[in-house]
C-alpha cells in the first residue's frame, strides 16, 4: 500500500492505495464518488472521464498512485459551476441522455470542449466527442445540447481568439474563458 495525497473536487484527500488500483476504482470504491462510471476499463468508452489537473482523462487508465499531488474533478464536483449548470439544463432539454450511464463522462468531455472551442461547429463537436460512447441516444440530443450551450454564449464571448485552442496547461483560465464565464453568469435567454 502506498500513501498518496491529492485534491478531489476541491477537497484534500490523503489515502493509501495499492499500486494496481486505478483512479476510477479509487474514486468509486474508496471515495464513494460513484458518478465516475466504468464502461470498459480499456480506455475506449469514455464513461470514466474526469478532469485531471483541468484536462479530461480516463480514470480507468490512470493509476491512483500516479495521481499523487494531482487535482481531480469528477461529475460530483461541479456544484455552483454556471457552465455545467447550463450543460445539464441543455442535456435535459435536448434529451441527451437515456440510461444515464455515459452521462457523467459525456458532460465532462462536453464541458472541456465548450471551454476550448466555443466556435465549434457540428462536425467539430462530433470529432471532439468521438471518445465518448453512448449506446442509448444515437448522439442526436448530445450534439444538440452542446450546440445549444454554444449558441447561448453571447457573440462577444466567442470572438475568435488564439487562446481557443490553448495548450492543456493554459486551458484552466484563458482570457476567453473569463469572458465566457462572465457571459454565463448572465441570465439564460428564454
Amino acid at each position: 500500500m502506498i500513501p498518496i495525497t491529492l485534491t478531489v473536487n476541491g477537497r484534500r484527500v490523503e489515502a493509501t492505495v495499492e499500486p494496481r488500483t486505478h483512479l476510477a476504482d479509487f474514486l468509486r470504491e474508496q471515495q464513494r464518488l460513484t458518478g465516475t462510471h466504468l464502461g470498459c476499463e480499456q480506455g475506449v468508452c469514455g464513461a470514466c472521464t474526469i478532469l485531471l489537473d483541468g484536462v479530461p482523462a480516463r480514470a480507468c487508465l490512470a493509476f491512483a498512485v500516479a495521481c499523487d499531488g494531482a487535482e481531480i474533478r469528477t461529475v460530483e464536483g461541479f456544484d455552483g459551476d454556471p457552465l455545467m449548470a447550463r450543460l445539464r439544463e441543455a442535456f435535459s432539454a435536448e434529451h441527451a441522455l437515456q440510461c444515464g450511464f455515459c452521462t457523467p463522462g459525456m458532460l465532462i468531455s462536453a464541458y472541456d470542449l465548450i471551454r476550448r472551442l466555443p466556435e465549434a461547429d457540428e462536425a467539430r463537436i462530433r470529432r471532439e466527442l468521438s471518445g465518448n460512447l453512448c449506446r442509448c441516444t444515437g448522439y442526436v440530443g448530445i450534439v444538440a445540447a452542446v450546440q445549444r450551450v454554444l449558441a447561448e454564449v453571447p457573440k462577444a464571448a466567442t470572438a475568435p481568439s488564439p487562446a481557443a485552442e490553448a495548450s492543456p496547461s493554459a486551458r484552466a483560465d484563458t482570457p476567453l474563458w473569463g469572458k465566457i464565464k462572465t457571459a454565463l453568469g448572465a441570465k439564460p435567454k428564454a
Binding site: E18, R20, T21, R28, E29, R32, L33, T34, G35, T36, H37, L38, G39, C40, E41, Q42, V44, C45, A47, T74, V75, E76, R88, F91, S92, A93, H95, L97, Q98, C99, G100, F101, C102, T103, P104, L107, E122, I125, R126, R127, L129, S130, G131, N132, L133, C134, R135, C136, T137, G138, Y139, V140, G141, I142, V143
Partner: protein, 786 residues
Amino acid sequence: MQAHGKPGTGIGARLRRKEDARFLAGKGNYVSDIAMPGLMDVAFLRSPVAHARIRAVTAPAGAEDRVFRAEDLGGVKPMQAQSGIPGYRASDYPILATGKVRFVGEALAMCLGRNRAEAEDLAGEVTLDLEELPPVVDMLAARRAGAPLVHEHWGDNLFLTTAVDGRIDEVARTAPVVVKREYRMARQCMSPLEGKGVLAYWDDRHGQLVVVTSTQVPHIIRTGLAECLGLEQRLIRVIAPDVGGGFGYKCVLQPEEVAVAWLAMKRRHPVRWIEDRREHLTAGANARQHHYLVTAYADRRGKLLGLDAEVSVDVGAYSVWPFTACLEAAQAGGNLPGPYVVPAYRCKTYSIATNKPPFCPYRGVARPGVCFAIELTIDAIARAVGREPAEVRAENLVPASAMPYNNITNKHYDSGDYPKSLRMAMEAIDFAGIRARQRRGEADGRRIGIGFSTYTEQSAHGTKVFASWGIPIVPGYEQATVRLTPDGGLEIRVGTQSIGQGLETTLAQVASEILTIDPARINVVHGDTALTPYSTGAYASRSMVMAGGAVSRSSTVLAGRIARIGAHLMQCRTEEVRLAEGRVFGPAGDVSLEEIAKVWYLRPDQLPEDVDLGGLEATVGYRPKVDTGAFSYATHAAVVAVDPETGVTQILDYVIVEDCGTLVNPMIVEGQAFGGAAQGIGTALYEESSYDEAGQPLASTLIDYLLPGTTEVPAMRMQHIETPSPYTEHGIKGVGEGGAIAPPAAIVNAINDALAPLGAELGETPATPRRVLAAILAASERQAAE
C-alpha cells in the same frame, strides 16, 4: 423541422424527463454503485476453450472455501427453458459448467475475494484440466452430418426445425422473374454501456434472499431464481436499481445471477459480481447471427408472387431462460414477409447449436435479420426487372385501404399507411435530388447511393402470440397501482422496468392526462418485486402499451372515486363534476385533490356512510382488445458515399418516418428511434463478434468490437405519422425496438445502389471495407469471365 408535441403535461407533451436530474448529477444508482458492510466480490473463471471435457477444476491449496465449482453448488438446478413447440430440444444450461464446457467464456468456477482484483487473483490460481474436443463454430457446418456435437445425446446440432409450408410450387413453375439470394448477419454483442451486475444478500428481518440485479425483468428473475435454487418465491426479493441499458441482454436469467444468489445464501454476507467489458464481449456475444437463403418470385413489374426461404440461426451452446433457443427462428419465420403483400410463402427455419454463447433476444428480435433479407430482396427484384427500387417497394407494400390486414403468416396489421411512410421518407431525403447528384458523379471518385427499408414492428403482442412461440413464461395482462398520497401527490407502481427508456416520465404523463396532476407531483415506483404488481417486464416493446394501459385504467378508476368524494364535499351530484388542473370542479365551486386526499386519509368522518372503501388507491389490470399486438411501422432512408478504392462507407444523410400510434412523448419516441438506429448502424457497418476456427472470440475489447460513436452516427432526422391503434388504450403502439430494425437493410441497400453500376452487390453485415472491396472484386471477375 418543427418540434412535434402537444401543450400540457399529459399524453403527447414533449415533456422533459423526470429521471434526468439524478443522472446529470452523477447520482444514478446502478448495481456497482451500491456499498454494503461486508460486501465481497466474485470473479468467474471462464473457459479458455470452446469445447472440452472437464477432467478437473482444482482450487489452490488453502483457498478451497473461496472457490466454487459445479460440484460445490449442491442442489442448484441448471436453467432449462422448455418449449411447447413439438420437436424442441431443451438444453440444460448449467450455472457452472458441468461435464463439458461448450463456449469460450462459459463460467467454470466462482472465486471470492475482498475486492474484484483479489477475486481475479484467485481465479488465476485455479488449475484446469480440460480435454479439448473439436468445436463446431460455423452454423452451416454444424448442420452437416459428422459435425462435432454440442450435446452428444441429441445426435445432431438442432434445437428445432420448423416449417411454414405454403403452396409455392405452382408459383415457382410459372413466375416470370426469379431472384435467389444468400444473406448473412454477423454475430453481435448488445453492449449496454453498463454491463450486467448482480449483488445479493440475505435479509434476516424479512427472511428473504435479496437479489439486486441489472435487469429488465425483475419478476421473471424471481421465478427463475426460485426454480434454480429450489426456494419458494416469497423468500426471494428482486430489486432492479438504475439499469444502464438493456436491449435484451438483461431480459434473461443469467447463470451468474443464480451463482451469486446461491453464494449469498451460503455465506450470509453480501456478494456481488460486476461484469467487465471483456467478459461481456466474449461470454455475451449472443445476438443477431442469421443466415438466409431466399428465393423470390415476381412478375415482370416486380410485384411479389411468392417467397421461399430457409432461415438458420446460430443459437450457440444452450437455450437461455425463459426465451428459449427457438424464439428467434420462430419470429424470423413469422415476420419475413414484412410489410408486403406476399401471396405465397414457404419457410424453413433451423435453430442450430454451436460452441458459442447462448443466444439472447436483442432489440428487434429476429426482425433486423428478416428486414435485411426481405428489403435487400425487394431491391434485387427491382434491379432484375430494371425498375426503381422505391417504386417496386411502394407497389408491394400493404396499401392503407387494406387495413386492418391479415398477412400470409396471420399477422394482424392493425392500422397505418405504409406507402405514405415511404413517400414521406423519399421526400425528406430528397430522392430526386440524390438521383440527379448520382448522374453528375462525385469529384472525389466516391459513389453515392440511396437505400430504403420499410418494416413493421409487432409490439406488445399478447398471450396467444407468445404462447404460440412455446416459451415457458407467457406475458399476459398488466397491472398498475395508483395511489393519491395524503397531500395530493400521486404514486404509480408498475412491475415493468425502466432501463433508460423514460417510463418514469411517460407513465406519469398517462396518469396526468387523466388525473390532471402535474407530473412533477407524480412518482413512478418500479424495479422491486416487493413493491410492485407482477409484470413479466420490459421487452418486446410492450411497456408503454401494457403498463401505460394499466396506468390509464387505474387512473380512471381513481378519478371516479375522486369525483365522488369531490361531489360530496361540494354537495352536488357526481355527474356534475369534472377533473381539471388538479382540482374537481362542480357547478358552484371547486376543491383541490389535496383537500380530497386530506379528507379521505385524515378526516374520514366527513365522508358519507356509503363511501367507496377502496379509497384513493386502485390496482387495475389491462390488456389490449386483441392479442395480436399493435403494429408500429416506419421507413428508414439512407444516403451513403462508398469509396470504391478503400471500401469505406460514409452515411451522408439519414431519415426516419415512423408511425407508433399515439405519441405519448414525442421527444422520447425520437430518442428511442435515434438510439435504435445508431445500434442498427453498428449492425450495418461496424459491429461483429467474429470467431476463429477454434471457436476463439476475436473481438474481446472495444478496439476490436466497434461501437459507433459521434463520428460514425450521422445527424438523423425524423418525421412522425400518428395513426392510433384501434386496439390499445389511447391508441399507443410500442416503439422501443423499431429503430434498430431497419438500418442494416436501408444502409446496405444504399451501398448496393451505389455499387450497382459496377455490378457489385453485398448481402452481409457488417458491410466492412473488406467486404465492400470483395464484392467489387467479385463483380469485376465475374464480368471479366463473361
